[in-house]
Structures are given as C-alpha cells and as structure tokens.
C-alpha cells in the first residue's frame, strides 16, 4: 500500500511539474511570437534597404562574437573553467594590432595593392601569435597550479587575470577610448539599396577561414583528437598516453588565436577600442557559447551569429539602451528552458 501511495504521489507531482513546464513553454512561445510580430511591423515600417543593411552589420558582428565564443567554449569544454580573461585577450588583440598597424607600414587612406594585403596579414599573424602566447602563459601561471583545487579557486584567478589585463591596458592607453587606424579601403557595393563594405566582407572571409580551419583541425589532426578525448574524460585520456598539459595549452593557444583575430577585426570595423572592451564583448560571447551549448564548437559559432543578429536587430529597430538587458534575459531563458543550449549534449552531473 505504501509503495502504491508513493507511486501515486510521484505520478501526481510529475504531472504537476509537467503542467507547469508546459505552461512555461507555452508562455515562452507566446512571448517569442509577440516579439517577432512587433519586429515584423517595425521592419515593414523601415523598408527593405534598411533591413538588408542591418543584416550585413548583424552578420559581421555575429562573426566577431563567434570567434570569441569559440575560445570560451573550447576552454570550458576541456577544463570546465569560465575563462573570464578571454574577453580581455580579445581586447588586447585590438590594442596590440592598433600599435602594430603603423609598424607594418600601413596608414590610413593608402592605395591598396598585393603588398598591403601581405602587410595586413603580417599584423594578423603577429597579433594572433602574441595573444596565443599570452593566453598560454596565463594558463601556465594562473590555472594549471589550481587544476586540483576547489572549483572556485581557478574562477577567482580568472577574474584576477581579467582585472590584471584590463589594468595593463588601462596603464598603456589610459581611460578613454583610443582611435584604431582606419586602414581598410572605403569601397562598397550596393545590394538592394544597402551598402556592403570591404569591412564586412573582410570579417566574413577571415571568420569563415578560421572556423573551417578550426573544424578541420579538431576533426582530423592528432592534437584535435587528443583535445576531444581530454574534454570527454581527462583521466582516461591521460591513461591512454595523451599529454594533458600540452593538450590544454594547445586549447588556450587556439582560443587566443581566434580571439586575437576577432580583436583585429573589431578594430578594423569600428575604429575604436577601450580598455574594458573585453568585459562587455566577453559577456556577450560567453552568452553565445552558452546559447549554442557550451563545449560545442559548432554551437558556439552558430550562437555567436544568432547573438550578433539579435543584438544588431535590437539596436537597429528598438532602444539600444536595453540591448544588454535583452541579451542577458535570453541567456537566463536559454538556461532555464534548454540548459544544454541549442546544440549542446546532455552532460552528466559529476
């Protein structure tokens, strides 16, 4: 009798949980549909050329977010650490490349030729390498000694490193935003009445190249395989003879390469940088990583694009003061309704 009563009680509470869950789901869908309806009316008001223009900007923003989000997701996937310093590595990439551009002989408003492309490539390579070395040394100094410490300890050092990097950039360039040299040619083509500039095209090409290269690397190379194995089960991977320290360092290296590239492209598109740029950009990118399912590389890329779309559309059609609120509300809702993200796998509790 006791068992039957227990079963009935459990069934009832399941039912209740199911009903509340369903009510919440329905509420969410109603909310999304209502939002899309308001958006649609606004879009119709502003006309097609405005829509296409916003779309171009959104895809470029999304690409930059995606590049940062990849670093977050890879690091979280492999050592389950929210690397707060990652956004600041991105900002450092922007700052460093701003100083490197004149060093490589690029000036504002110059004539473009094959040589200038190589000069810009040089800026990219040096910035990405320096960012990567920075991130690897952060891992070596601040995270590796704490790998077996309680979970909170590396998180606090990550916050500390973030403050340190912001402080270093503050010391370097001061509190106000600095001008980033506008070196890309101001050429654009007109599509459906909207301008598609060199800036957006550069961002797309670089991001697409890097993401495809990363996907191939993770899928095909031996180190990529080691990363996937380490992410899945670190102890088992170690027993199989994988050098864990090297694999984790490689993850930080690659994450920072992508973040550095993101930093350059942020600078090239917006022509401005400020010392705490990494904090806000990092939060959005982290939201993107969670949105796509943290630990999932394709998820982070898609999440970045989606967040770029949401943010740019909100800024374009609604009050931009609220865009951060919207982003974080989405973050919370994704975690409440779909904790594993859009593409995430169910992670067992450890």
């Amino acid at each position: 009798m006791g068992a039957v009563g227990e079963a009935i009680r459990r069934r009832r509470s399941d039912l209740r949980a199911g009903l509340t869950g369903r009510a919440l789901d329905v509420g969410l869908y109603v909310l999304i549909i209502a939002f899309l309806y308001v958006l649609a009316t606004k879009v119709l008001d502003h006309g097609a050329d405005y829509l296409v223009q916003i779309l171009f900007f959104a895809l470029a923003n999304g690409a930059i977010y995606a590049l940062i989000a990849l670093g977050y997701t890879m690091v979280y996937g492999i050592i389950e650490l929210i690397n707060f310093a990652h956004g600041d590595v991105f900002a450092f990439g922007a700052f460093l490349s701003a100083s490197l551009i004149p060093v490589f002989g690029l000036t504002e408003g110059q004539v473009w030729g094959p040589l200038t492309i190589f000069q810009l490539l040089g800026v990219f390579v040096v910035t990405m390498l320096v960012c990567a070395l920075l991130n690897v040394s952060i891992e070596r100094i601040a995270y590796r000694p704490l790998r077996h410490a309680p979970r909170l300890a590396p998180l606090i050092t990550a916050i500390g490193v973030s403050f340190f990097l912001e402080g270093a950039m503050f010391l370097w360039k001061g509190p106000s935003s600095v001008h980033y040299p506008d070196v890309l040619p101001d050429v654009s083509i007109s599509i459906l009445g909207a301008r598609l500039g060199v800036k957006e095209i550069t961002v797309w090409i670089v991001t697409a190249t890097l993401v495809v290269a990363l996907a191939l690397f993770i899928d095909r190379s031996k180190l990529g395989k080691a990363m996937r194995a380490t992410a899945q089960d670190r102890d088992a991977a170690q027993l199989m003879g994988i050098d864990i320290d090297r694999t984790i360092a490689a993850t930080f290296f690659i994450g920072a390469v992508l973040a550095g590239a993101g930093g350059i492209m942020y600078g090239l598109s917006y022509n401005t940088a400020v010392f705490d740029l990494g904090f806000s950009a990092g939060l959005v990118a982290f939201t993107a990583a969670v949105f796509g399912g943290i630990g999932n590389i394709y998820g982070a890329a898609i999440g970045g694009m989606v967040l770029g779309l949401i943010r740019t559309f909100w800024d374009g059609y609604f009050d931009s003061a609220w865009s951060d609120v919207v982003i974080f509300a989405i973050l919370i809702m994704v975690l409440v309704f779909r904790p594993t993200g859009i593409l995430g796998m169910r992670v067992p509790e450890k």
Partner: protein
Amino acid sequence: MIGWFRRVWETDPRKDPNSVVYIALGLFALLFPIIANVLSGGNPNFLLSVAGDAGVYLLLTLGLNVVVGMAGLLDLGYAAFFAIGAYTFAFIASDHLQVTPLHTSLHVPFWIVLIVALFVAASFGVILGAPTLRLRGDYLAIVTLGFGEIVPRVFRNASVWTSGVNGISALDTPELPVWIRGPWSGDPFGFVQNFKIFDPLAYYVIMVFLLVICVVLVRNLQHSRMGRAWAAIREDEVAAAAMGVNTVQAKLLAFAIGAAFSGFAGTFYGAKLSLVSPENFGFSVSITVLVMVVLGGMGNIPGVMAGSLLVYYVIFILLPQLPDNATSLANAIGLSGLTQSSGDWPGIGEMAARLKFLVFGLILVVVMLVRPQGLIPSRERQQELTKGTRDDTIIEDVQAETG
C-alpha cells in the same frame, strides 16, 4: 552568566582559532570609536563613516557566505539583490514616488523598511532561484551573472520610475522615537524625542548591532539541520539527495537568505548615503564581495569577516590613496619632475591611479595561488584540501608509482 564565563574560561581558545578571531573582531568593534577619535585627533566622523560603509560590505559578505561558502552555490550577481534592497528603501522612504506615475509618496520608517527590503530581496531570490537552482554549478553562476547585469541596467533605463542615471536622492533619514542624550554628544543627560540619525557614530552603532544579530543568526544556521544539509549539498549534491536532503528546498533557502542579507545591507546603504544610483551596483561589487568571501576562507564566518575588512581596506582605502602617496614620494626623493604630465606621461599620480586594476588583479591571482583555501579557512575545508577527497588523487598516485 557565571556558567557561561566558566565555559568560556575552560574552553582553550587555542583549540579553535575562530574564537580568537571573534574576540579580536568584537574588541575591535568596541574600541574602534576610541581609536578613530585618537587617530583623527578628536574628529572621528570620517573614520566612523568609513567604518559604516565597511559594515555594509561585511553584511554582504556574511550573506554571500551563506550562498557560496555554506551551500556551495556560485553567485556572480549578488549586487543585484543589494540594488533591490537599496531601491526598495528609496521608493518607499522618500518623496520620489511623487514624480513617478503614481504621484503619491510613501515615508515608511527605516526600521520597518529593513524588514520589508529583506522580504522583497528574498522574494527576488526565490523568483530567480526557483527555475534556475536545478542547474549545475557553473550554469547557476552564469544565470546569476546575467541577473546581476540586468538589474542595474533596468534601474538605469526605466527612468520614468527610477530617474535613470541620476538615481534617487534625498532619502529619509532614519529616526528613533526616543534617544538618550548625554555628555558624549556634549549635552546634559536627558531624552530626545523623534531623534533623527545624522551622526556617523549612530550609524556605526546601528551597523554593529545589525552585524551582531546577523553573525549570531548565521552561526546558528550553520550548526542547524539546514546548515548540515547545505554542507552535504556543497560536498556532493547527488549523495545529499540520496540521503533524503530536499536539495531544491535547501538551495532555495540558502539563496533567499543570502538575498535577504543583501536587502538588509542595501537599505542601510541607501539610508546612510541618502542616495541610490544604478552605478553603485555593478559587476565589480558582486566580484568584490565574492573575493572577500573566498579570500577570507569560504564557509568560515570569522574568516570571511576578516577577509571582508582586509579587502575593503585594500580596495577602498589603500588603492585610492596610492596616487597621493606616489606623488608625495616622488616629491620627497627629489623627482618632482615625475609628478607633472608631459606628452604620453600622465604624471606619477595619474599613473598610480591607473595601477589600481592591475594591483587588484595581481593580489587576487597571487593569493589564490599561494592560499586557495583562504586566509582563515574552516577546519573541515582545510582537511579536504590537504588530504584530497576527489578521485583525481588516485591517478596522481598511479603516476607517482609508475614514474
């Protein structure tokens, strides 16, 4: 009373370092007004006011310690509840509601708002916690971080209700129906009716009372059935659930209590400053409080209190003084040229001001590397760290044996 003294006397304080810290903190709180008087040469108001602000952070630290230290839930948006508490006070204890669409103002006494804000903040804790507390540790951290970013932005943007970035000013001054007058305020003995509290010493006394109440409360909670349930959840949630702990209820309660403390602190903060502004409740506040808890020694009440005072001193007193000290040092050693800004060099004072973030970050990293258990950890936690409870150690042993 005699029995109590005997018990204290017979308990060797060396067995429990915590009691030494408690006694030290208590003595410090009692003697501080005198110390401040001596240090400032008879004008202690500034130091007492600073102590009141430090008390706000002590309250916040005690509250976050319940959430992070006892129940093991990582909360990165704790300042949101602080903001909610402060704005609750601002709404119902000032003329501000007159300029909102409500067009009526409320003047609820400070002492009642303390309780109201406590419940308002706790309710927000429950509202946020109920759907999200089933998430795994890091996801919870992200949700709270998001909430902590949303709340100040809402207060900033909803300017019809909150006056936006300007904040709400001219909040009510706390009032006591009767107060004793005496030689300490330069008056003859007597009673004052409807005593308005402007004096920093009065704020200091209120704060010490609040702190004593909170410490006793938290200490009892920690040793209660619920406190043991929190410890069980912190160590292993699955095992705790298997042992019959209602984990959702226990986590929700921890979250609500933490939020309630924050609401408490928010009310006091608003009353003392007589101003609330969305800029005062950002991510840096949440992080500062978290750092206080972790540096002090998570879960250990005297530890986190000591950590709170230390971090408060470094962030709000030592680092802001750095520019002036650097300038006077440069002048003293004959390098006064350094104090002038020229070209890219902004002057040594400005340079020292810019060092602030860097120094703070460095302190965080170094302390965590050298002492990840915190300055005064609880005994259980220290044993966990030195002996190791995780299965990682097995692998290390295998490695050590196989070379």
